[in-house]
Symmetry: D2
Subunit: 424 residues, 4 copies
Amino acid sequence: MAIVPFHSELETPELLTLFRTVRETTAGLGARLSDADATVQSMPDASPSKWHLAHTTWFLETLVLVPFLAGYRCFDETFNFLFNSYYESIGARQPRPKRGLVTRPSLETIFRYREHVDAGVIRLLESAPSLEVSELIELGCHHEQQHQELLLTDVLHLFAQNPLRPAYKSAGPLAVEPDGAGSLEFKTSPGGLVEIGHDGEGFSFDCEGPRHKEFLQPFRLADRLVTNQEWIEFIADGGYRKPLLWLSEGWAKVRSEGWTTPLYWEERDRTYWTMTLRGAQPIDPAAPVCHVSYFEADAFANWAQRRLPTESEWEYTASEVPEEGNFLDSERLRPRPAPAATDGLRQMFGDVWEWTRSSFSPYPGFRLTGGAIGEYNAKFMCGQFVLRGGSCVTPASHIRRTYRNFFPPDARWQFSGLRLAEDA
Amino acid sequence: MAIVPFHSELETPELLTLFRTVRETTAGLGARLSDADATVQSMPDASPSKWHLAHTTWFLETLVLVPFLAGYRCFDETFNFLFNSYYESIGARQPRPKRGLVTRPSLETIFRYREHVDAGVIRLLESAPSLEVSELIELGCHHEQQHQELLLTDVLHLFAQNPLRPAYKSAGPLAVEPDGAGSLEFKTSPGGLVEIGHDGEGFSFDCEGPRHKEFLQPFRLADRLVTNQEWIEFIADGGYRKPLLWLSEGWAKVRSEGWTTPLYWEERDRTYWTMTLRGAQPIDPAAPVCHVSYFEADAFANWAQRRLPTESEWEYTASEVPEEGNFLDSERLRPRPAPAATDGLRQMFGDVWEWTRSSFSPYPGFRLTGGAIGEYNAKFMCGQFVLRGGSCVTPASHIRRTYRNFFPPDARWQFSGLRLAEDA
Amino acid sequence: MAIVPFHSELETPELLTLFRTVRETTAGLGARLSDADATVQSMPDASPSKWHLAHTTWFLETLVLVPFLAGYRCFDETFNFLFNSYYESIGARQPRPKRGLVTRPSLETIFRYREHVDAGVIRLLESAPSLEVSELIELGCHHEQQHQELLLTDVLHLFAQNPLRPAYKSAGPLAVEPDGAGSLEFKTSPGGLVEIGHDGEGFSFDCEGPRHKEFLQPFRLADRLVTNQEWIEFIADGGYRKPLLWLSEGWAKVRSEGWTTPLYWEERDRTYWTMTLRGAQPIDPAAPVCHVSYFEADAFANWAQRRLPTESEWEYTASEVPEEGNFLDSERLRPRPAPAATDGLRQMFGDVWEWTRSSFSPYPGFRLTGGAIGEYNAKFMCGQFVLRGGSCVTPASHIRRTYRNFFPPDARWQFSGLRLAEDA
Amino acid sequence: MAIVPFHSELETPELLTLFRTVRETTAGLGARLSDADATVQSMPDASPSKWHLAHTTWFLETLVLVPFLAGYRCFDETFNFLFNSYYESIGARQPRPKRGLVTRPSLETIFRYREHVDAGVIRLLESAPSLEVSELIELGCHHEQQHQELLLTDVLHLFAQNPLRPAYKSAGPLAVEPDGAGSLEFKTSPGGLVEIGHDGEGFSFDCEGPRHKEFLQPFRLADRLVTNQEWIEFIADGGYRKPLLWLSEGWAKVRSEGWTTPLYWEERDRTYWTMTLRGAQPIDPAAPVCHVSYFEADAFANWAQRRLPTESEWEYTASEVPEEGNFLDSERLRPRPAPAATDGLRQMFGDVWEWTRSSFSPYPGFRLTGGAIGEYNAKFMCGQFVLRGGSCVTPASHIRRTYRNFFPPDARWQFSGLRLAEDA
């Protein structure tokens, strides 16, 4: 039985491999950035890359090395204040909106911090660690994978604020891609009394379980994501100007923020361009729409006379689809068009996070854990909607059918899109 | 079959009686107020009493008289702008936060407006109205009952801003009341596959249906509400100072607003007093705690190592309790202590609205109606939590087991409290 | 020698007459309002009429009756909290932005409060008061005259927020008025070493003295105010769209507030209308422009390739003009066109307050008085510009050549306009 | 006669020397910073160092090279958008509060930009430039000297936000300094009709002239600055808790911002420390108080029963003091204690900027210039107070008796202090 509420079954050698891979991947993501790129915070919701690089390291230092590695010496005592994210049980911290004011330590120092902690964790892993320690290290890896995605997401936001629209990666000629979203079909599911949630085999976050029964009405789910082309039609039909399509709060946001397109879109010579990790690029009509809020996804679904799926409908349907997709791939870093139609559901994993109509709330039987680990997810169960499936900047080994991502309904800087559903 | 999504089965004479009763009750509530009392808006979320008196009348005029009463002449064409609440489909309106700037028309004019519209509706009712018209009038009555509660809730907020703490009703010596909250018991329910939602017999709002199956785990529900005495213990134990008890957003609110007690509480000579419709009064320890937000209710439940019920758990349990309680009673206007313990659940109806942990979202199979009526509830299905059971200022004939009230998690000016639950 | 820093020479009978006249005038202004009109606060900078009526009374009660009338009983002890404006030395008070939440006491009670205090002051005046008492009562009269103007100014703002644009006075057919602004001339003054400020003969506020020498360069002053017609030309020439005409802060305000005309102007069928105390009225092209901010006045002067006068230039020039004008006249309540050209300066008194380019700051030799009286003016000597001459809602007996009114540069709800100047 | 409103008399070789010195000094200031240090913006009022380095260069490129150097090629066309400060006449620009989001171009690129422009200016200077060009280059030097001070001021603010309190320069052991503020004397001046303002000999900014007559009453000026020790007494006597000492707006700021000491002060073990360019340091009691706002300076003067001087009093008195002081000295970078008492006024130049009670407004006869140069000062003549004398981070060759610095009354991040005055 797991000691921490995040379940693990890894043998130590596997864990060591996971640990090394994750840490190297993160360092690789940071290596493309200048000290300035890595320091600036583009808005209160985003964090500097340097902070992501350091916070994930602090997490391992604080939860694993300090309590479990005999004789461990902290790299720098002040980092506990600088790089704690939101753990009230651990102590005071740099206020979130001021993370970008910390120009020292430098990016180079943070890389040294990472090496210092890596050495400690590896030492611990090589000394027959207890199950609790293994589980905490595995949790640290998954935690860091979340921050890999956030780092890229936040870098994109930062670079999009720069009038020069710099590229995180050089753009280069893009491979020709078949313009293939093709026809849209709705696949019917009979529903009934089904099981939802993680069953405890392998790693999961606490909020993914316990596995439990739910009763679903018959429903139908689109076999692919909504495309840019479809979104352009929504815009052309006045989607952003018709209050009756929108939730009340969503319409208020449209008005106060002046939304007329997804985030990052701009019109140049009558064509839409968008900001990507490769710099500004023309929109690909067949690719899934990305960087839309829940408010926009819901309004689009109303306009299409459909609705968003619930997270249970999504998970139940996904149970027959392999967890394979267009995940984090440093050569790509953007959503791809759907493959040509097949019999089954396409684009369920990778590509873009899919908004569901489900509020992020505890599953029946969920119990709050005490201490810092208990603060991981549960305290955000208010005012957030669940997204499923992972995106093109989610690490492939990080995603699961039961994975519950969550964001407030006005968040647009994530790689978020949508899939339509309807009652059967 | 109902033409509007709000179901009705009333014969015309019954409807006429309902209509007269509702309209007279509202007028009676307004009659205790001065022109100034009825005009001022104490915060953007609250509305002036004059606005409630006029808006409910405008609702009948706009949805019933203008389309269905031949030869009807509007009382004043400008009122369509002044008294539309949020119906985008009907047109422009006075911005909500500026409702309190409209000192003319006077309260007296609004009473004349009410009489003018009453005469029209009665004329229509006496002329063999169609089913659609009957249903719309019945909807107008239920809509007005909602505003009866809001009017009192908003008047309380207004008077609480006045350093003189005026009474809406003269206080008079209160009858001695047994201090009887008594012991607390948790009643067990086996759960299973149950039916939830309104079945279409009699009136209901659209969001109460359709009736549908849900699977519930076994659970236990407290047989009475949380009391002021229990809340004082929560305060004394540092409830408002321990971040780990709170949702992240809730804790931010505690800090930014300086919450240390429920709304309206103040300490005088080491005793807590609260503002009531009878003016400032000492707290009754045995009465249910009132004017707490969802954030506070959730933090209290964490502190008590319990949780809030889901709305399904509440509704399923309530199916065996008569819909009787401590409803709007102009002699009382405040929550009462629980009656001595009995075998069953106490204080399920009337007293205070009970926060549930359920977000306000559409039931399976719910369909959005077009037009103004469709804007009634669905566009608020975001960022709100469901409350059940009705309060001491809810009209008795207005409440139902299936009734879904909803407010954002930081709202405290409603008559809202809580009942604890736990997994069985 | 005066004991309070506000100089007085009135014999008791004169003072009694002044007192009665002022108090009756104020009561007359309030008598046209409903309880609701008198209670609502239309913005934080404005106050409810009820508050003006009560605050002026509280001023007399607190500074005169309580300390000097033996056996005086306060009308209501709670009024000290409710109606203190900003006197830190006197104690806590209702926060300014919440003055409009006090629906009780009613307007009728406030009128009774006024009578109670009037009786006390008259009793004191009839009992051979000391010089200090006389001076304080005289100060109370001048203080109340300031509030007469503010009351009308604030009522206009309140009524302008009402979509019905109600009239404070019935509009009635306006007398035919010659359209006479006529030609504009600049009158030259040689400047030199001049004396500025009040000499202590008769009443003045502390900030009007001491009289002192200043050296003025030669200058020229327009013989009349800027007209609505001239302002329309400024608008037509893009005045509100050219940043180079504006102070940096002023331009920021134009952008953030969307200013395109003076306050209260609206276009109806290609004609400008404005809100007046007689309701909405078409603009009179020959009347002085009114309800413009310092920012607008300064931008207009730049556009006209002139400048605003300093307050010393204004006062020095005004020393040869009789203090007569178009003052508070309950039949009129709006600025009038200039009389036909004469040899001298026109529209120096009454009509509209004239913005000067002088910041409100202490004259050389000015000394801060201690206590409540010392808070009257000096603590506002920051961020304000001086206005001179009085307006059509200033009481005639209240104005003086040396009078220094002051407001922040973005204030527009006062009856404020401008006169041009230039270097000679 | 000068073509631009900033007067110059320099021969080309002198100008070349000035140009080289200024540019090298600025580059030297930037050389101590990392790319991240130079990129982050710590608040909307401050700018990134990179921006200061680039903006001063852009100023030369835009006003000198583009119009006057034949064949000049811009270093990068996008810089016109990125590095324009507030010149509406030149075009659109990066919004001021978003200057810190521009992580690219890097600091290194900005240094290359500086070299590119330096080469151009030197080429122009070596080719017998016209008087207009010389004057513009000289203006560019003085403009850049202003930004040298701002760069250090803004770096200090940035580093003070970092919980690690990094030093801009290594602290090292400070030389022992005599604790010598010593006694305070007030020097009397008879006033009279005096001349104020720049006479056009040598460089000055437009707002320093024209020279003109003013009449001054007799006054007395303290012979040294107010010290930290005196400020500690003010704090101990409740200076930050007594509303009657403060301007109304100042008191509001004390309350809303929670001011209890000058900016950057913190208490550690009952001693005050402050943030300096050498990192956190204990307060030197004999050094002049620094980083106080006008509001604080004015409250202190009230507490001391004195007042602040006017700018004319200061300038008239300074006419007999040599323009020598404790100016920008890269070994020091902080205010020094006053030298032992002498017969004359001490600490008039260098040390800290001295708040005067004079609003920043145009001198008699001042004329607005058209075009970009005209935007330099005049559009800020509203809501600002004048400071005189220069500070320890002002370049020595930049200060003059007639120099008018100006900031809003709540600004504290400048090196600002005060000197007391009184009526004679």
